[in-house]
């Protein structure tokens, strides 16, 4: 128990510290790094949201990440179901290719993806970034879901077939609901990963209007001056949806991680 308390404090303290920084001005922070806010600068959130275009960054991030997660989940679940359930020629080859793409660092794709997006007129567009995110997260999603779906007993599918359900209906009525713990796990992992994604967002989007939150936060970092106070405020705005998503899906996430045989 003591260890759990210690670990919780260890994990929560940096978060709480950034929380206090987000309510202090940069000059106050420079004077005392770890002090409690003397004046609570709630207006910093308004400044970030309105004056520093965080509303726009937040909207862009929400749009890109929600769309990418939705597409990845649906495509990934369908692919995982196909690979787990149907014995077709090349099944394991496709699985191996998908799996091996997880091994390579995504940075090696950056230049080629940049060229592809420019070629298809998708550079500097949220659609382009969404498609890139889908391709980045799809292999891991398929890998995680395939493992779970393969453990769903074949009898369930046979029973549904006898109950007159088509393959598509079985996917939506049986596979998705039964696989919900694993799907929730991939949703939360993908959401956190993409919400915080910086590298592809900064390379593939150059317009400030189309920037996502991680790129927007960078605007507080100049060459000669780093606005630590506003940086912390931006980070708090950015981290909020992650906390909400985690709180909403955490129970299912744990179920997905500890899932045994589907009974």
């Amino acid at each position: 128990m003591a260890i759990i308390v210690l670990y919780t404090v260890y994990s929560a303290l940096p978060f709480a510290w950034v929380g206090t920084l987000s309510l202090r001005s940069t000059s106050e922070i420079s004077a005392a790094h770890f002090a409690w806010p003397e004046v609570w600068h709630w207006e910093k959130f308004r400044v970030a949201w309105v004056d520093s275009h965080f509303a726009s960054y937040f909207w862009n991030s929400t749009l890109v990440v929600s769309a990418a997660v939705a597409i990845v989940t649906l495509l990934g679940a369908a692919a995982a179901h196909g690979l787990a359930r149907y014995d077709f020629p090349g099944n394991r080859l496709i699985y191996f290719i998908l799996f091996s793409s997880i091994v390579f660092p995504p940075q090696i794709l950056l230049i080629s993806l940049f060229q592809v997006l420019v070629g298809y007129n998708l550079y500097n567009s949220l659609i382009g970034l969404t498609l890139v995110y889908v391709s980045l997260q799809l292999p891991l999603t398929v890998y995680l879901l395939e493992g779970f779906f393969a453990r769903i007993p074949q009898d369930l599918f046979d029973a549904a077939k006898i109950d007159r359900y088509s393959e598509l209906a079985i996917f939506f009525r049986i596979v998705l609901p039964v696989g919900m713990p694993a799907i929730a796990t991939t949703v939360i992992l993908n959401f956190i990963q993409l919400w915080n994604e910086f590298l592809f967002a900064v390379v593939l989007i150059s317009d400030d209007e189309s920037s996502t939150l991680p790129v927007g936060i960078r605007h507080f970092m100049g060459d000669y001056f780093q606005d630590i106070g506003m940086l912390a405020t931006g980070m708090m705005i950015a981290v909020l949806p992650v906390v909400i998503v985690y709180a909403f899906f955490s129970e299912r996430l744990i179920q997905g991680m500890t899932a045994g045989a589907v009974k």
Binding site: P153, D155, L156, D158, K161, I162, R164, Y165, I174, V178
Partner: protein
């Protein structure tokens, strides 16, 4: 209700050397409870899945209710199946599980509710309707699986080892419930099991399968009393029938089997019956037919040996006897009061009519011309 007929059905999986199901032919009469019995891997579940439409048929013909259904998908065969794992949809309540198959058949909601209510009453599921399968015991899940089949009112019920996951006591109860249910519904049922007790107690007829083929079809007691070959003889009965290698001999019209030092009189067989046999045979006698007799007074068919193991079961005792002359080992089921000790010399007597005879090479039963 319907007749199910299989004619020369084969199933060969791609890449397999031998067919999993080979030349299987049988017919299940309207309203009959037929049991497919056999050891693991004998093709009984594959046969059932072919009837269900979950496996394709390589060759042969399958008819349900007079219609050839080889190429008819499972959903259009009007069958219901109860699976070994129950196959309940884990994300649905019991009520939804029962109604799931009916909804797809565009049955009016009021009728679905009525049917679910009726089935819940028959199977005492009323209080469980709003529970999810994870909140049910094994027996309750089993009843829901049964209910899901009954509520559909199909032409044919198929059961794939539905009692295997239940504990021994519950298995006996559910076995009886199933038999009562069959009487009540009068439906055509095809039931797969590897448990010969289930087969003997539930089936109106049984089909014994071995290595993808039908070994024997008949009423349970007929199959038990007149096994068609040594496999069926061994498979039906617990402990299984004792089978001893023997040399056949005739003197005039009298026939004998020599097992080690024992000379057994084959009173049911004539010399003409043995004429076609290979000279060697497997002599069979069921454990319950063997009785301990006084060694000095023993006459007629007697097997002598030493007790090598004693298994007191309470109601009765099993003794395992190593026979003289390295004739083999036999198990005898004797009264619980019989007092024996290990390594004790013992004589086991039995009536001539209790003997079974199988050809030494083909292992087929050697028919006798006398009753």
């Amino acid at each position: 209700m319907a007749v199910v007929r299989l004619a020369h059905v084969f199933k060969r999986y791609p890449g397999a050397l031998a067919p999993s199901v080979e030349d299987v032919s049988f017919s299940v009469a309207d309203g009959e409870f037929m049991v497919l019995l056999g050891p693991s891997g004998c093709g009984k579940s594959t046969t059932l899945r072919m009837v269900a439409g979950l496996e394709s048929i390589t060759s042969g013909e399958l008819c349900i209710d007079g219609r050839v259904v080889n190429d008819v998908p499972a959903m259009d065969r009007d069958i219901a199946m109860v699976f070994q794992s129950y196959a309940l949809y884990p994300h649905m309540t019991v009520a939804d599980n029962l109604a799931f198959g009916l909804k797809r058949r565009k049955i009016p909601a009021s009728q679905i509710a009525e049917r679910v209510r009726t089935v819940a009453k028959i199977l005492a599921l009323g209080e469980l309707l709003q529970r999810k399968p994870s909140a049910l015991s094994g027996g309750q899940r089993q009843r829901v699986a049964l209910g899901r089949a009954i509520v559909r009112e199909p032409k044919v019920f198929l059961f794939d080892e539905p009692l295997s996951n239940l504990d021994a006591a519950l298995r006996v109860n559910t076995r009886n419930e199933l038999v009562r249910l069959h009487h009540r519904l009068g439906a055509t049922m095809l039931y797969v099991t590897h448990d010969q007790v289930e087969a003997m107690t539930m089936g109106q007829r049984i089909i014994v399968m071995n290595r993808g083929r039908v070994a024997q079809i008949g009423k349970p007691l007929d199959v038990y009393r007149q096994p068609s070959d040594a496999f069926v003889a061994r498979f039906l009965g617990s402990p299984p029938m004792n089978l001893l290698k023997a040399q056949l001999a005739t003197r005039g019209d009298q026939c004998f089997a020599h097992c080690g030092s024992a000379k057994l009189t084959l009173s049911r067989w004539s010399a003409a019956d043995l004429a076609a046999s290979s000279g060697t045979a497997l002599v069979g006698v069921r454990p319950e037919e063997l009785g301990v007799v006084e060694a000095a007074q023993a006459e007629g068919n007697v097997l002598r040996g030493k007790v090598s193991a004693i298994e007191p079961l309470g109601a009765e005792t099993l003794i395992i006897v190593d026979l003289e002359g390295e004739a083999g080992e036999v198990t005898a089921r004797v009264h619980r009061d019989v007092q024996l000790s290990l390594d004790q010399a013992v004589a086991l007597g039995f009536a001539s009519r209790a003997l079974y005879l199988f050809d030494g090479q083909t292992e087929k039963a050697i028919p006798s011309s006398t009753a």
